[in-house]
């Protein structure tokens, strides 16, 4: 199967470039990118060819592509890929507006290609174990979930993450969607209301987007949950950030620290002092394998456009809630399976 990566703009593209060649029956044909310097450096480092523009890559007739462009450019990339007959795995958030997201779905349906949203944490072993526990009712009735998806401000690695035009916002757009999706998936329920405190306490001088968000959501099964999507880790933190959550119910609590499987490295050669070096699973690998398998079998993707769309609605509702200082209902939703 021929697979390509459309753009290196997202920080996750580097990980995909490393993982795709490891997958059986996948031929990574190359990547497109509009940043010549970045593209040449990556091609030299990885021996994976830079094919130029998106159109040039798509002319090679890939079976599937991974969209790693800036959030606001997803729509154009998805529409081109769909027209070229390539199945799509799209970075999150899937778009910066609902209109763009809807148009992406329409393009994929029209050209008969599948669309998968890149929510790798669904493929994490600890979260899958949690999902099984909840399904078996081991917590009894679930009361609530307190989740953290902290990060450092990613502008150190990619400047566009703090460009309101390209990213559609800041920490809210970057990190609300992961936990919003996990809550929907874990509880097999929809998020029906959102309240959020949003602000920029961390980099008020240097960036023009939000860097902090505490969102409170209500789900259709009556569970409430919190999402801390803040870019609150300093650059001196031993890792990019973390994903933790605790589910509390009538039989007690379950705590998840999805990236706890790390070594603590103290070395002048490390990029951080100290540095947490992961030795556990990489959920991106399982996500890519699931995407490739769904394309090969012609099966529906394991994470759908609808999943990406609902998560985007939650992110946009955070901004609406902050603007109005009130709880924002998300009506008219159907439950996920």
């Amino acid at each position: 199967m021929k697979v390509g990566i459309l753009s290196l703009a997202h920080v996750h593209a580097d990980g995909y470039l490393a993982l795709l060649p490891e997958l059986p029956d996948v031929r990574l044909i190359g990547f497109s990118d509009d940043d010549t310097e970045r593209a040449q450096a990556t091609a030299a480092r990885t021996d994976i060819p830079w094919l130029g523009s998106d159109a040039a890559l798509l002319a090679e007739r890939p079976d599937a592509v991974i969209i790693c462009s800036e959030n606001a450019k997803h729509r154009a990339a998805v529409e081109q890929a769909a027209a070229a007959g390539a199945h799509v795995l799209c970075e999150k958030p899937i778009a910066t507006t609902l209109a763009d997201a809807l148009s992406m779905r329409e393009a994929c349906e029209r050209h008969g290609v599948s669309f998968m949203t890149a929510f790798p944490m669904r493929f994490d072993a600890s979260l899958q174990a949690l999902k099984a526990m909840l399904k078996q009712g081991e917590l009894g009735r679930v009361y609530g979930i307190n989740g953290i998806n902290h990060a450092e401000c990613p502008s150190r690695h990619r400047a566009w993450f703090v460009d309101p035009e390209l990213a559609g916002g800041g920490a809210v757009m970057d990190h609300i969607v992961h936990l919003a999706d996990l809550y929907r998936w874990l509880l097999a329920s929809e998020i029906t209301a959102v309240y959020a405190e949003v602000g920029n306490p961390f980099l008020p001088e240097s960036v023009a987007v939000d860097t902090a968000c505490l969102a409170s959501v209500t789900l259709s099964n009556g569970v409430f949950a919190s999402i801390d999507a803040s870019w609150s880790r300093p650059s001196s933190y031993p890792r990019w950030g973390q994903l933790k959550l605790e589910v509390v119910g009538e039989r007690g609590a379950v705590a998840i620290d999805a990236f706890a499987q790390h070594l603590t490295l103290y070395s002048p050669h490390a990029s951080r002092q100290p540095s947490w070096v992961n030795w556990g699973g990489n959920p991106n690998r399982a996500m890519l394998a699931a995407f490739i398998a769904s394309v090969r079998l012609g099966a529906p993707p394991p994470v759908t456009w609808q999943d990406g769309y609902q998560a985007l609605r939650v992110a946009l509702a955070c901004y609406a809630s902050q603007a109005g200082g009130a709880v924002v209902p998300l009506g008219g939703l159907t439950a996920v399976g």
Partner: protein
């Protein structure tokens, strides 16, 4: 200095042990239950009436259900006695204000036992924040995850009319701490298990605060863990730095013991953590320390009365924390955002 304790429950026992570390003398105990046992331990006298106890002491220490605080404080003040009173000060702002006014008028001191301010990790973090190590505060995360208080007789903690419920009784600690760190709160939004389902067997709440400074906080409270579990933690992120602390990660002593024969017989299917020997009453987040925080607190009270020095946490501070807790409860009841 002669001290009388009212209420021989979890807090009365803790306070009696703490007073024993000061220069004061516990002379009397007045309690509906377990009074003789506590009094005997400290060679104190058992009193059958509150007014009799008041005659015999210089300081009265109220470790009774919260709804009793206002009247008992007023009676002590009128008798000219200093008052130490467990948190929360009261269940309404008006009652709390009246307690302060009554004590001021009577010329006696009023100490609300906001003990978390005497926990060394909370103090150390506050000092780092105040010294500017974190720059401007951005997002605070505060956790207090305990088990539902258990009492064989009269479990008043579960009666909102007497305790205010978990959000008022327990989470007031973290509301006070958040305010100590980040200043006045302007907005509160809260969700809880019991607000959504009043028949919940436990309780769990997530409360979001926004401060005038622009900072924000998420405060988590749980009465949902197995008996004996009490986990606390904070994560304080600022524009220039970060403090992480969790009781999970800083235990200086941990045990991995086979259950004793008695434990095995009592709870054959359960782990040691889920079946501790002592899980009666409300939980206490204690760790091995040179001095337990309850002792630090009452030593400070003792010095403050002796020397007239100010107390580290004023009754007004405790009232402001109560104001946040009551706003959280209002948000729970209405489902709306509450502006202060």
């Amino acid at each position: 200095m002669r001290v009388g304790i009212v209420g021989a429950g979890t807090m009365g026992v803790m306070h009696a042990a703490a007073w024993a570390q000061t220069g004061a003398k516990l002379v009397g105990v007045y309690s509906l239950r377990d009074g003789p046992e506590l009094a005997h331990r400290y060679s104190a006298k058992v009193f059958e009436r509150y007014d009799e106890l008041l005659k015999a002491v210089d300081v009265v220490d109220l470790c009774v259900p919260t709804n009793l605080h206002p009247a008992m404080t007023a009676q002590a003040a009128e008798a000219g006695k200093h008052v130490v009173c467990e948190k929360p000060p009261a269940l309404t702002m008006a009652e709390g204000e009246a307690m302060i006014a009554t004590c001021e008028r009577a010329g006696v001191r009023l100490f609300i036992a906001m003990v978390v301010r005497f926990f060394p990790q909370y103090r150390a973090a506050q000092q780092l924040v105040a010294a500017g190590q974190l720059g401007a505060l951005g997002v605070l995360r505060l956790r207090r995850a305990a088990y539902q208080p258990r009492k064989e007789v009269d479990n008043w903690f579960l009666d909102e009319a007497r305790s205010g419920g978990m959000v008022v009784d327990m989470m007031i600690h973290d509301f006070d701490y958040a305010r100590w760190l980040a200043g006045p709160v302007i907005r509160v939004y809260a969700q809880s298990a019991r607000a959504l389902a009043p028949d919940s067997s436990g309780d769990y709440a997530l409360v979001t605060l926004r401060f005038a400074s622009g900072a924000m906080a998420i405060v988590e409270g749980a009465w949902a863990n197995p008996p004996g579990v009490f986990r606390t933690g904070f994560d304080l992120a600022g524009s220039e730095g970060l403090i992480e602390w969790s009781s999970d990660d800083t235990a200086t002593i941990r045990t991995f013991l086979q259950p004793s024969a008695a434990q095995a017989a009592a709870c054959p299917e359960r782990s040691e953590a889920a079946c501790p020997e002592r899980s009666e009453g409300a939980g206490l987040p204690l760790a091995p320390l040179p001095e337990d925080p309850y002792t630090s607190q009452l030593k400070h009270v003792y010095r403050a009365i002796k020397t007239g020095e100010p107390f580290a946490v004023t009754p007004q501070d405790s009232l402001e924390a109560l104001r946040i807790a009551l706003a959280a409860r209002e948000s729970l009841q209405t489902g709306l955002v509450v502006t202060l």
